[in-house]
């Protein structure tokens, strides 16, 4: 009906975004998306954050999404704009972050002609998005955008890309409201009650149980985290969290054993190894967590709750699986537990905690402090102590600093910890912090960085300054790609091939050149001072802390080893034995 065709594709698009609850777009313009930018100019409901590189737009949207539970939104141009976004999309896919990425595309009649700035971005991103669309007709535009948001946020969340040829956003068409669009994509959220009853029975009868909880509970939302906390406390069982799960259960609760896995605590890994029942809620048996699979918790029965059936029996065969959303399943578990008046085996549990407390007493995260050199662990501990009253959001880059942050910070609230776990993308942290700060303007947002990672997206300081985002970046400068250096020290005979950068910028001057504040600490005695000063400034701050270059992250499960074969520290002789590279964790 011609008289309805009153809106251009660009107008339809923005209307759809508003109807989907989008408030902020992270993006970067270019020829193919100029009609969209023109519409953005004419309105004031959608804010736009102008990044300096499209990869950063995606990480910023990830930060926004993970700290709010909403779908993050990205807008980039065709060709190089779109290909620059690819790393961010792959990152979001690995860590299950809901995003919609809108890419410009050459006009439909030029597709396939090697036109200027043409890239087959749906082809390129097929394996690194949850789903993607090429819209060929303005008549399909509104429906496709609504469906993209639905797919991004439903089930196991993930990034969805919508490719928009220029003629499609210029042609006129009709708008359809979200309520008019029916999607066939309906993942299962309720768990099978029979399986849940069986699970509860197994949980009640366990003698040496452990909750192994992951990012799925964080994905599911605050309600799932609360239900998990309630259920764990009802049982009094120990709980360990993955890197992605930190915050799902309060870090300061005595039932919390710390993170598990390659750089997890002794108590968490030993309890995983020795347990008789493992209750996995929303974690995916990642190889950084399991170590050598045939040495992984050999004597336990395993329960796995996950919304994605493909996560189940992928790496580790389990005894009982429940497919569903954590919040629904946990709610049902609690109901069944109460209805059946389940009781735990107090006597066995007491024995179990006795064993755990002995592992705990080893105090595996302890380190030898120094009054000359800033120990990275000390720096993180001071950040924790001096900022905790403000419940900061903490982002990280990738490397040793990331692991020390995971080990030494405690998160009592979910959605306050943002890190690149699955892809391990250096350069994630500062843009992610931008996104968090956009969503939470009053909050304290800190990026804990390494001097190498930060240089992967250093240009984003300009974005922070332009948009007055008072993000605090703390660079733990150990002069090395520390995590790479650690592997070279422990596995490659101390041959530090290309892991040392003998030139770094003067980070203080660099901050100032961008218009941000630069601070530096070179001695332990200066650490508290710069942290306090950074918090007092209502502007973006770059803090450089010169840390001990030789420090390594321990405990460590060497590649190819099992949970009970951790290397505890520099003096531990077992550090020389590393297992087969084929059947374990093989990548830095």
């Amino acid at each position: 009906m011609a008289h309805h065709d009153t809106l251009t594709g660009a107008e339809i698009l923005l209307k759809a975004l508003v109807d989907q609850g989008v408030e902020v777009i992270f993006g970067y313009p270019g020829g193919a998306v100029l009609p969209i930018y023109d519409e953005l100019f004419k309105q004031n409901r959608l804010r736009h954050v102008l990044v300096r590189h499209e990869q950063a737009a995606v990480h910023a949207a990830e930060g926004y999404a993970r700290s709010t539970g909403k779908v993050g939104c990205v807008l980039v141009t065709s060709g190089p704009g779109a290909t620059n976004a690819v790393t961010g999309l792959a990152d979001a896919l690995c860590d299950s972050v809901p995003l919609v990425c809108l890419t410009g595309q050459v006009p439909t009649h030029l597709i396939g002609n090697d036109a200027f700035q043409e890239a087959d971005i749906t082809g390129i991103t097929r394996p690194c998005t949850k789903h993607n669309y090429l819209v060929k007709d303005v008549a399909d535009l509104a429906r496709t955008v609504h469906e993209a948001f639905h797919v991004a946020r439903s089930g196991r969340p993930g990034p969805v890309l919508v490719d928009l040829p220029k003629d499609v956003i210029q042609n006129k068409g009709e708008y359809q409201a979200p309520s008019k669009v029916k999607s066939k994509y309906k993942p299962q959220v309720k768990g099978d009650l029979k399986a849940i009853e069986k699970a509860v029975e197994m949980i009640a009868h366990a003698k040496r149980p452990i909750f192994y909880v992951g990012g799925g509970v964080v994905n599911s939302g605050p309600a799932a985290c609360q239900l998990l906390t309630q259920f764990v406390r009802m049982t009094g069982y120990p709980c360990t969290l993955t890197l992605m799960g930190l915050g799902a259960f309060p870090g300061s609760d005595p039932l919390f054993l710390g993170m598990l896995g390659m750089h997890g605590t002794v108590e968490a890994n030993m309890a995983m190894h020795d347990c008789d029942l493992m209750i996995n809620i929303g974690a995916r048996f990642d190889d950084r967590v399991t170590g050598r699979v045939n040495g992984f918790s050999p004597n336990s029965k395993k329960i796995h709750v996950d919304i994605d059936p493909s996560s189940i029996n992928k790496n580790v065969v389990v005894d009982l699986s429940v497919v569903g959303d954590c919040a629904h399943v946990l709610e049902d578990m609690i109901k069944v537990w109460k209805a059946k008046q389940c009781r735990v085996n107090e006597k066995a549990l007491k024995e179990w905690w006795k064993a755990i407390d002995e592992w705990r007493a080893m105090d595996c995260l302890a380190f030898e402090n120094s009054n000359k050199l800033i120990k990275p662990q000390y720096a993180i501990q001071r950040i924790y102590e001096l900022t905790r009253h403000r419940n900061p959001y903490i982002c990280t880059e990738v490397g040793q600093h990331q692991m020390w942050a995971a080990q030494h910070l405690k998160f009592d609230l979910p959605h306050h910890w943002l890190t690149s776990g699955g892809l391990g993308t250096m350069g994630y942290g500062m843009p992610a912090a931008m996104g968090v700060q956009m969503a939470h303007p009053e909050a304290l947002v800190i990026d804990i960085a390494g001097e190498s990672s930060i240089q992967m997206n250093i240009q984003e300081i300009a974005t922070l300054v332009q948009h007055r985002l008072p993000v605090k970046v703390v660079i733990l400068n150990n002069q090395y790609m520390g995590m790479v250096r650690q592997w070279q020290e422990l596995i490659h005979g101390g041959r530090y091939s290309e892991s040392h950068m003998n030139h770094h910028p003067d980070f203080v001057k660099l901050a100032e050149a961008f218009g941000a504040v630069g601070l530096r600490a070179e001695k332990p005695s200066e650490v508290d001072g710069v942290i306090k000063e950074m918090m007092a400034v209502d502007r973006p701050v770059i803090v450089e802390m010169r840390t001990d270059a030789s420090e390594n992250v321990f405990p460590m499960i060497m590649p190819g080893m099992a949970h009970n074969e951790m290397v505890l520290g520099p003096e531990d002789k077992s550090r020389d034995k590393s297992g087969s590279e084929e059947d374990g964790m093989v990548l830095v």
Binding site: T122, H131, V151, D308, P309, S310, K314
Partner: protein
């Protein structure tokens, strides 16, 4: 893990998908990206009203891999149904092949005789060649091709397996 679980088995999987551009690339990309085998894959639209296509995949792997393949397929947004015909009960599976044999004299006569035994039809003939159409299980088609080999086999085109469950129930 026991030996039985590690054993590699062949499975025929029927997949109902939206007939939209890119869907086949998604399915094939899944197999190549995750290192799964494809022994054969056929696809065609089967419902023009709802625009659905049916893909039949013959694949092989351990029980754990086959389970992964099915779950990974179900994860694709345009995939609606995934059925493992091999384990869900009896099914029939057929392939069609077009086979060109170039021969004269005795061999030409012999190829016709064997075609007759296999109920293959000659659907094209010249003085020096036949094109046979043969339908049947993969094993039957293989056997026919093997017998044609010494008689002047020149060209083969096969559809790959299509399969459907026995009995009244649709997938």
């Amino acid at each position: 893990m026991t030996k039985a679980v590690e054993e590699i088995q062949r499975h025929t999987i029927a997949v109902l998908v939206d007939n939209e551009s890119g869907v086949l690339a998604r399915v094939i990309g899944l197999f190549s990206g995750r290192g799964y085998n494809i022994e054969s894959l056929t696809v065609a639209e089967v419902d023009s009203h709802d625009k659905l296509s049916r893909i039949t995949i013959v694949t092989s792997g351990t029980a754990m891999i086959i389970e992964q393949i099915k779950n990974q397929l179900r994860r694709l947004v345009p995939v609606h149904k995934v059925h493992d015909l091999t384990i869900e009960g009896p099914h029939v599976a057929r392939e069609l092949a077009l086979i060109k044999v170039v021969a004269g004299g005795e061999k030409r006569v012999e190829s016709l005789r064997i075609a007759d035994i296999f109920r293959a039809r000659a659907i094209d003939s010249t003085n020096e060649s036949f094109v046979f159409e043969v339908v049947g299980s993969t094993e039957k088609v293989d056997a026919f091709i093997n017998l044609m080999e010494p008689l002047g086999l020149a060209d083969v085109s096969r559809t790959g397996v299509v399969a459907i469950a026995r009995g009244p129930n649709p997938i």
